[in-house]
Amino acid sequence: MTRPHLVHPRHVQNMMYIVLSLMAAVVVLPVLGLLAYMMIKGLAGLNPDLFLKGSQALLPAMVGTLYLVLLTAAIAAPIGIAAAVYLSEYAHRGILVRLIRLAIINLAGVPSVVHGLFGLALFVMMLKFGRCLLSGAATMALLVLPLIISASEEALRQVPQRLRDGSLALGATRWQTIRRVVLPNALPGIMTGLILSISRAAGETAPILFTAAFLSLTNPYPESLFDEILALPYQLFVMTSEMPSVPAETKWATAFVLVVLVLGLNIGAILWRTHLRRAKRW
């Protein structure tokens, strides 16, 4: 005998829909709340003076962060993408590959402050780069490398195997196949991964704490790789932890600018991905 449902499946369906959408909303709320809170608190401090005037002006710090982020990308992207291509296209399952993957996972798990200390030891002290843009970017590159590798690997995996087969069967070498078919089609995914990694780099403080960032500089805009820089997250960090004299709204305004910068990068990446996905479909 089949017994009837206690509650009709349609009602269960409706209930679950409501419960699940509420839970999803819970995730969104803190983000929106945080943004709103920062905006309200910092609104008074948000003015042109904040960006241009005084020793804590934001513009040089933003420029410093921009340089840092670009150099990080320039270092991490080629290495990361190359590693991803090796892992996904060339490597057979073996001990070496397993070791590499293990290293990547561990690298991703290392706290960022340890990266900072490692960068201090390797780039600043051992290689004698000094506390500078290059040391900071190299340290930051180490931090984001696992992100770039896994995002790129994922993007490469998304390229259908039948496209590779089609190319190989036409007599293409593996490299020709990667260069002409795989990479062009994985590019949207790789680029979004790259931008997301970089937005992470833009917000990090610990890696540049000992390797690159200063609070104030006589020459705030760096002219070479070996110049010291100002950086937005570092500025915020020092401002909030060591400078009680700075008005609260200035701190909130700074935080707001930083968050908007990072979110802007993220949203830009998402929009770009959707655009590219629409252009290339298989």
Partner: protein, 300 residues
């Protein structure tokens, strides 16, 4: 055909990218291959008359510990259509992929025996894999045009193998599309994405893409299984036209297709070539009971 310098009875383990092989070779270089008379042939395996384009001799293939092919010997005649039929997992696709070495990349792949293209061993050490695949083209089950323009799809192969100039390329593109009976349908939209074509058109594009590198052999792995009946008949008609210039080997689940297009048919079962003969003979008067059961649909 008889005196061919090559390696006999060697074992091929992991094969690298450009034909470099790593281990497991018991090579007797410059030894002579046994002639066909010396190779013991099963009674139901026909040796076709005329020129032989491709040949497999005593082929055993393994994926790790799984044996995909068991002592398969088959001679494939030039400028004919040879169909390979059999249930899923019988080894027919694996066998097909031996002829352009598309199995090499699979982990654990191992091959014993010889595969010959016009009498030359294609698993030899110094073989130029790109050149082999240029001569032996392949069309896959699902149409797989590259996400680029129709023109660039066709030009892909020629650009791999050299640097053809613009007018040369234009000519190759037109000729290949004409040969694949697609020119009239796409001549006004060569710059548009190949992904906008219908399934049947995409498959003909893939055939044209292979023809553009001027192969001698076309391997077709269930080329019409993803297509509707009309598109299927297009492909079949095209195959019959192409037969004039190309040696075609087709793997198909559809034995009616095999009976329509091919002159020779081989039936595979659990890695074994059970029967190989003229297509009419296979479908009307198969010699082996297993072949009869399979083609009558009375299997298992």
């Amino acid at each position: 055909m008889s005196a061919l310098p090559s390696a006999v009875g060697r074992t091929l383990t992991q094969t690298g990218e450009d034909g470099s092989q790593s281990a497991g070779q018991s090579v007797a270089e410059e030894a002579f291959l046994p002639t066909c008379e010396e190779v013991p042939c099963a009674p139901n395996i026909l040796r076709p008359e005329g020129e032989i384009k491709l040949e497999a001799r005593s082929l055993n293939m393994y994926y790790g510990s799984f044996q995909a092919l068991r002592n398969v010997s088959m001679a494939i005649p030039e400028r004919r259509i040879t169909a390979l039929i059999g249930p899923s997992g019988c080894g027919k696709s694996s066998f097909l992929r031996c002829f352009n070495r598309m199995n090499d990349m699979i982990d654990g792949f191992r091959l014993e025996g010889d595969v010959l293209l016009e009498g030359n061993d294609i698993y030899r050490r110094d073989l130029d894999l790109a050149y082999l695949r240029k001569r032996v083209g392949m069309v896959f089950q699902a149409p797989n045009p590259f996400p680029m323009s129709i023109y660039d799809n066709i030009a892909y192969g020629p650009r791999l193998h050299g640097r053809p100039d613009r007018s040369e390329l234009d000519q190759i593109v037109e000729q290949s599309l004409r040969q694949a009976a697609l020119w009239d349908e796409v001549k006004d939209k060569l710059r548009q994405s190949a992904l906008g074509l219908s399934g049947g058109q995409q498959q003909r594009l893939c055939i044209a893409r292979v023809l553009a590198v001027q192969p001698e052999v076309l391997l077709m792995d269930e080329p019409a299984s993803a297509l509707d009946p009309t598109a299927t008949f297009h492909i079949e008609e095209l195959m019959l036209q192409l037969m004039e210039h190309y040696t075609i080997v087709i793997v198909t689940h559809n034995m009616y297709q095999a009976s329509r297009v091919s002159q020779y048919t081989g039936f595979f079962l659990m890695g074994e070539l059970v029967e190989f003969g003229h297509t009419e003979q296979i479908f009307e008067t198969p010699r082996d009971k297993r072949t009869d059961d399979y083609i009558r649909g009375r299997f298992g």
